[in-house]
């Protein structure tokens, strides 16, 4: 039966020459262009919007204001503990020194004192630079031993008056800052991306041996615990 059908489809008068004649070739090209354009738009424009959810920080923190009041720069709040571990985002205990009472009249400040300080609740800060759990990153090795400054990886967040929107990857659950804002993964400045390639690039450039302190051997387990 199929043979008969095929025969009828390829009967004289219905061949390729007729396709061209009735404009089917143009339609094919047109369809290709439509498909190409649509998927490019989806991939470059729609997809990034769908991939990330937009979240606001619980309190809109003003880095610039605090940096002006403190005398040890970033380390006034983001300090190293005695054991060398890095404190990261400040805990409430650090804020209470100044913020036991409301300072000024900013609504965020009032909310911070009333909802968090007075109730003794920690602020659930969203951490832009939090690496996946499988990554072991030591601040002390980079800042103290390597002499790097904060800006190299974190950019000029310290000079900002408002916190940027936190974009959370709906699949992995991590911040957009790791991949970078450019969806193609291109970067201009060293703080634009925080992927493994960026670690490797700097380590290679600086000639840093990526060996374990304990075993003096290189390997995945130096950074991936």
């Amino acid at each position: 039966m199929s043979t008969a059908d095929d025969a009828s489809k390829h009967a004289p008068g219905t061949g390729a020459a007729d396709d061209r004649a009735d404009g089917a070739g143009g339609a094919i090209i047109f369809a290709f262009v439509i498909g190409l354009a649509a998927s490019l738009i989806v991939g470059w424009v729609v997809f990034p919007k769908l991939l990330y959810s937009q979240k606001r920080q619980p309190i809109d923190f003003n880095h610039a204001l605090h940096l002006g009041l403190e005398d040890q720069n970033c380390e006034s709040c983001h300090f190293f503990r005695e054991d060398g571990s890095f404190s990261g985002a400040p805990a409430l205990a650090q804020c209470i020194g100044c913020h036991a009472e409301v300072q000024g009249d900013s609504p965020d400040e009032i909310r911070f004192v009333e909802e968090y300080v007075q109730k003794g609740r920690e602020v659930p800060w969203l951490i832009y630079s939090r690496q996946p759990q499988c990554v072991y990153f030591s601040h002390v090795a980079h800042v103290r031993a390597g002499g790097m400054d904060c800006v190299s990886c974190h950019g000029h967040i310290g000079e900002s008056e408002r916190l940027p929107v936190y974009e959370e990857n709906r699949i992995s659950g991590y911040s957009r800052n790791l991949w970078g804002h450019n969806i193609a993964g291109f970067k201009k400045d060293s703080w634009d991306r925080m992927k493994m390639d960026d670690c490797a690039e700097c380590h290679a450039r600086e000639g840093v041996t990526q060996a374990s302190v304990q075993t003096t051997k290189e390997g995945c387990f130096v950074c991936h615990k």
């Binding site: 143009g26 339609a27 290709f32 262009v33 989806v42 991939g43 991939l51 499988c134 990857n169 992995s172």
Partner: protein, 740 residues
């Protein structure tokens, strides 16, 4: 323009090309890989500042000194405490896995009253006021009826302030029935009472011995204080010490020893006397000790020379005569020989004759209270409370005989809970109305479970002070939730052979979860509720104050260091060590009588019906006390011991051939006490005719993670009261194994 199938294909090709040229596939691949490497449902420890708290874990036999790492209020890791005596920074696997128990799903968080029949698992939560009201009503009822002795308590340890509070409560109440779970420490205490005439704890100066003859002790299988034993064992290897292991099964200890001497189960004591025979016959013993500080040697010598010749001993033990002779000579000629006993982990008490025989071997070599030898330590005496005041009812009750016969029928024993079931069943000398259980889990650990459960069914009121819903709590009428080992203060007196007095301090490491109360607090509150002389006996406002006052000037040091130890302790010299009638070491105490005590104990059961012999064995990978093995431990168990939920028993291929069993065969294991379906693992490391089964599996309570794994071998073995000490002397039971 005609749109046909090819247009759609073209659209698809275009879309595919566009997609490839967009970041979509590459970005999704990257995100998916991150997602799949870190499943969002996998728990990760909280990030934050690490803080460390020193404490003592009360889960294992002797208490491990621990350092708990915390992030915020949550404990995330338990490690050994550096500098803790014996452990020196090490930790046993059960204490290391303690977080799984602390944060486990079957923690009891509020008082629960039984609804429905016993053990059915139907509960209703009640307030503490209701719970304590019910207990005081039950207790007051017993006093009103003039039968305060009908109230009993079972705890896990004999020493420490919590057991002491239970004992005090019962005494002031009027009941002599304070019981704890006896271990090899009790068998040794009985031996020291008979041969030294003192109330002592046994200690072993293992680190200074150079020839260790172990009569079944699982040196690296959890005997004594497990971490200290591992360290000592490594030290011996470094120093070139000799370790000879006498036992019927190739345990880890036997495999790591200089020589494994397979012996018929139950005949270890006979082998010790066989060695004594050679040592005496060849005059290899310590003349100074035997002639000047010992008594009864002549009787002992005559008995040993007459009955324990190498030929006889070889027949009893299955060890050939030349081995007996050579080991005896090596032992006697070693610089610092030490013989130790207590089978497996020493959680079972064993025959008094076996302990006496091994102790006599040490006495012959004069190693008692000497470097590298066996030491008699004073029993912990830091609890110095005035005697509780007794009213008439209490005096009447305290004059009664104990239900378990300790102190009366068996004068050297202090606690014989395995005899409780018979006393309850026969109501002799009287019945039990109220049973309090704290820290112990008799419905798992005591032999002959089925029997025991039926018997305990006759006790009208059982109250369990429990951290977890263990087997005993599950069978109780009222469960009073206790804070976990990481949530409370408690003193832990070391009793497992550390050769210096040592008290550890467990302390709250994390905030308490749930509505729990410390058993010590509950007793103080119950005493207050009952009033009168009971209230007078408990003058403390709460347990923490009681503990602080009890430890007195040790308290501050214990808070700072986590323990108190008498580092300068030296055992008494021979001229001051013995308080027997003769003032000397007694080789042949009256309890030995005609020497029948030294004959190997026959296992329970008819040899014709049960041709094999079941011997439970201990492994350091499985917790076999009152606490069930958390998943971290179970994961370390080989799949020829436990596979899924099925337990394997070990048998010799020779026995397996005769029974038509092969590796992995399902089989029905039957003993006079019960039966269970098991699988078979063939091993040349067990003597023919024996069936080895791991102890510590087969929990029925707790939760899905802890319960239903294997068989509780305690349920298959019955107790046999030792004729002299009354302690459970059973080392196994006759059994049959048939293809299932």
């Amino acid at each position: 323009m005609k749109i046909d199938r090819r247009c759609f294909l073209s659209l698809g090709v275009g879309a595919a090309a566009g997609t490839v040229l967009s970041p979509l596939p590459w970005k999704i691949t990257d995100d998916l890989s991150i997602w799949s490497q870190m499943w969002p449902w996998t728990p990760w420890p909280a990030q934050g500042e690490n803080t460390f708290t020193n404490s003592v874990s009360t889960l294992c036999t002797d208490g491990c000194g621990i350092t708990v790492r915390k992030v915020g209020g949550r404990a995330v890791k338990i490690e050994g405490m550096a500098g803790y005596p014996g452990n020196e920074g090490g930790i046993c696997n059960l204490c290391a896995a303690g977080l799984q128990l602390h944060y486990g799903p079957t923690r009891v968080r509020e008082p629960m009253m039984r609804v429905g029949s016993r053990g059915e698992g139907q509960w209703r939560t009640v307030s503490w006021e209701q719970a304590l009201g019910e207990v005081s009503r039950q207790l007051a009822g017993a006093r009103k009826a003039g039968t305060p002795e009908a109230v009993g308590a079972i705890v896990d340890q004999p020493y420490g302030s919590v057991p002491a509070l239970f004992r005090r409560f019962l005494t002031a109440f009027g009941s002599p029935n304070f019981m704890y779970t006896p271990t090899m420490a009790d068998a040794y205490a009985a031996v020291l009472r008979l041969t030294h005439g003192t109330d002592s704890l046994v200690g072993f100066d293992l680190e200074h011995a150079d020839y260790i003859l172990s009569f079944g002790s699982g040196i690296i299988d959890g005997w004594g204080s497990p971490v200290r034993m591992f360290r000592a064992h490594s030290q011996w290897k470094t120093d070139g010490a000799t370790v000879k292991q006498v036992e019927p099964r190739l345990s880890n200890t036997a495999a790591q020893s200089s020589q494994w001497i397979p012996v018929n189960p139950g005949s270890e004591g006979a082998l010790a006397l066989g060695l004594a025979h050679i040592i005496i016959k060849e005059s290899l013993y310590d003349y100074d000790f035997v002639n000047n500080y010992a008594s009864g040697f002549e009787q002992f010598r005559d008995l040993v020379l007459a009955q324990f010749s190498p030929g006889n001993v070889s027949r009893l033990t299955g060890v050939d005569q030349s081995t007996i002779v050579s080991v005896a000579r090596e032992f006697a000629r070693a610089h610092r020989p030490l013989a130790i006993c207590g089978r497996g982990q020493g959680r079972t008490t064993g025959e008094l004759g076996y302990f006496l025989a091994v102790h006599a071997l040490n006495a012959l070599m004069g190693t008692i209270n000497r470097p590298g030898g066996v030491w008699a330590l004073p029993v912990p005496d830091y609890i110095q409370w005035p005697e509780p005041p007794l009213d008439d009812v209490a005096r009447g009750g305290m004059a009664k005989e104990r239900l378990d016969g300790a102190g009366s029928a068996f004068p050297v024993a202090r606690s014989l809970p395995h005899r409780l079931a018979a006393a309850i069943r026969e109501q002799k000398p009287y019945g039990l109305q109220v049973l309090m259980v704290s820290g112990a889990n008799p419905l798992y650990t005591l032999p002959g479970q089925t029997d025991l459960q039926q018997t305990l069914g006759q006790v009208p009121f059982i109250v369990s002070f429990a951290t977890h819903m263990d087997e005993t709590a599950a069978y109780a009428d009222l469960v009073l939730p206790a804070p976990s080992h990481l949530e409370r203060y408690e003193d832990v007196a070391s009793t497992a052979g550390y050769p210096r007095p040592l008290i550890g301090l467990a302390r709250p490491v994390v905030p308490r979860e749930g509505d729990t109360r410390h058993p010590g607090d509950v007793l103080i509150q119950l005493a207050a509720a009952l009033g009168g002389s009971l209230q007078e006996a408990f003058p403390w406002p709460d347990y923490d104050t009681c503990l602080q006052e009890t430890l007195a000037d040790r308290w501050e040091a214990m808070l700072a260091d986590g323990y108190w130890a008498n580092d300068r302790f030296q055992p008494d010299n021979w001229d001051a060590a013995f308080a027997t009638a003769s003032g000397r070491f007694e080789f042949f105490p009256d309890a030995v009588k005609d020497g029948a005590l030294f004959q190997p104990l026959e296992p329970e059961g008819d040899a014709a019906q049960f041709p094999l012999v079941l011997i439970p064995y201990d492994t350091a990978r499985i917790s076999n006390g009152p606490v069930a093995s958390p998943p971290f431990l179970i994961k370390t168990v080989a799949d020829y011991v436990l596979k899924g939920k099925e337990m394997f028993v070990e048998i010799n291929p020779e026995s397996a051939d005769a029974l038509g069993l092969r590796e992995g065969s399902a089989a029905r294991l039957t003993t006079p006490r019960g039966s269970a379906t098991v699988r078979v693992h063939l091993s040349h490391g067990i003597m023919p005719g024996l069936v080895g089964a791991p102890r510590g599996l087969g929990h029925t309570a707790y939760d899905d993670y802890l319960a239903g794994k294997g068989v509780n071998v305690n349920a298959l073995v019955g107790a046999i009261s030792d004729p002299a000490s009354g302690l459970d002397a059973a080392w196994g039971i006759r059994a049959s194994l048939a293809k299932a």
